[in-house]
Structure formats: structure tokens, C-alpha cells
């Protein structure tokens, strides 16, 4: 009398994700974003280096609030990926692998990323 299909409880919105888990999933999200930004990035570079006109068009776009927002997202993604990545490298050499240290380093990554992103926002929008 094997029940056919058993339900699986996996409600990601209800399951608690510790801070280290947030750092980790955001590391993945930011990495994916950076990957997706790669071809547009090369394209933008190629445009800006192609001619005076292309450069000016680029420079014009960059001042648009929407692209500033995209830029800010890029700053966040890069910073988070960098800091979280450094944290992972430390864990790989067995630094700060204890639970309390891991929590502290996660908090540090989040705070540092937030700070850099805020600075970038201030620089971009004022």
C-alpha cells in the first residue's frame, strides 16, 4: 500500500535562512547578474572605444537615471560578490568556520556591501 506521491514540505518563504545563507544565496545571485552583464559590458566598451560619436552616446546614456540604477545594481553585485567571495576563500583555509565567527563575517559582508553601495548611490545621484 505504498502511497503514490508523497508531498514534500519546501516552502522557501517560510523556512528560516540564516544570515550566512543570505550571504551565500546573494553571492550566487550577484554572480549570475555579473555573468549576464558580461556581453552588454563588452558591447558598451566596444561602443565607447569605437568612435567619438559612440563615446558620446555612451556618456549620454550613463547620465540617464535608469542606467544609473543599473550601474548601482552592478556596483552592489560586484561588491557583494567580492566580499562574500573573500569570506568564502577564508572559510576554505579554515578561518572563521565556527558558527559565531561565520555569523559575524556574514554580517560584516552585508554591512560592507551596503556601505559601498550607499557611497556609490550618493556619488551617482548627487
Amino acid at each position: 500500500m505504498k502511497p503514490i506521491a508523497r508531498p514534500v514540505y519546501l516552502d522557501l518563504l517560510r523556512i528560516y535562512l540564516p544570515l550566512a545563507g543570505w550571504v551565500s544565496i546573494l553571492h550566487r545571485v550577484s554572480g549570475a547578474l555579473l555573468f549576464l552583464a558580461l556581453p552588454p559590458g563588452v558591447w558598451a566598451l566596444s561602443l565607447s572605444l569605437s568612435s567619438e560619436a559612440g563615446f558620446l552616446r555612451m556618456a549620454g546614456w550613463v547620465t540617464h537615471p535608469l542606467s544609473k540604477l543599473l550601474l548601482l545594481l552592478g556596483v552592489w553585485a560586484f561588491t557583494h560578490h567580492l566580499f562574500a567571495g573573500l569570506r568564502h576563500l577564508a572559510l576554505d583555509v579554515h578561518w572563521g568556520t565556527g558558527l559565531s565567527h561565520a555569523r559575524q563575517s556574514s554580517l560584516a559582508v552585508m554591512l560592507a556591501t551596503g556601505l559601498v553601495t550607499l557611497l556609490a548611490a550618493w556619488r551617482l545621484f548627487t
Binding site: 558580461l38 558591447w43 572605444l49 558620446l56 567580492l82
Partner: protein
């Protein structure tokens, strides 16, 4: 079911990810400083920033490291979430094409514009 023994693989690529991470962690902030400190510039100034050979070589090497790093990372994402082998392989191919294409494109841009 997969037999419960390892494929004797995975360590190499894991190491590649770590090694490229170290390279990127050093090179990317350096390169960014190089460009951002010079901003804002006009077109010729902008072009000038890319003129030195070492900048272009460094950029290209960093891009290579980035491509390898991204390959491992994106592959990990697909291994985690995409369980249909055919689709996963197709996505792998797309990622490889994207990354290789981007690097080649970048090389063309850098050397074409010089």
C-alpha cells in the same frame, strides 16, 4: 541510480574557481582604480587609457580568469537547479559560447581600437 562512489573529479575545477577568484580579487579592483581615478575623460583620453600594452594584456588575462570563474559558477547553478540532462548540456553550451565569445570580442575591441 548513480553508484555511491565518486567520479574522482571536481577538485580540479573547484581549485580553478578558487585560483581565478584570487586573481580577480586582486586584478579587478586594480584595473577599476586605473580607470575610475582618471574619470571623467574625453574620447581621446578614454582611448588613451587603453593604449598601453600592459593594460590591454592585463585586461585580457583578467577576462580569461573571469570567464573561467564564471564558467564554474554558472555551471554550479545549473547543476543545482537543472536536472534534465539535455537542457543542462544545452545551457552549458550556451554559457561556453557566451563566455568565449565575450573574451574574443573583448580581444578584438582592445586590439582593434589601438
Amino acid at each position: 541510480m548513480k553508484p555511491a562512489t565518486g567520479a574522482h573529479a571536481g577538485t580540479g575545477i573547484w581549485l580553478v574557481q578558487r585560483a581565478t577568484a584570487v586573481v580577480l580579487a586582486v586584478a579587478l579592483p586594480g584595473l577599476m582604480a586605473h580607470f575610475l581615478l582618471a574619470l571623467p575623460v574625453d574620447f581621446s583620453g578614454w582611448q588613451g587609457l587603453f593604449a598601453p600594452l600592459w593594460v590591454r594584456v592585463l585586461l585580457l588575462l583578467t577576462a580569461l580568469a573571469l570567464a573561467l570563474h564564471a564558467w564554474v559558477g554558472v555551471r554550479d547553478i545549473f547543476m543545482d537547479y537543472i536536472h534534465f540532462t539535455g537542457l543542462r548540456l544545452a545551457l552549458y553550451l550556451a554559457v561556453i559560447v557566451t563566455l568565449a565569445g565575450s573574451v574574443v570580442w573583448l580581444a578584438a575591441v582592445l586590439w582593434g581600437s589601438a
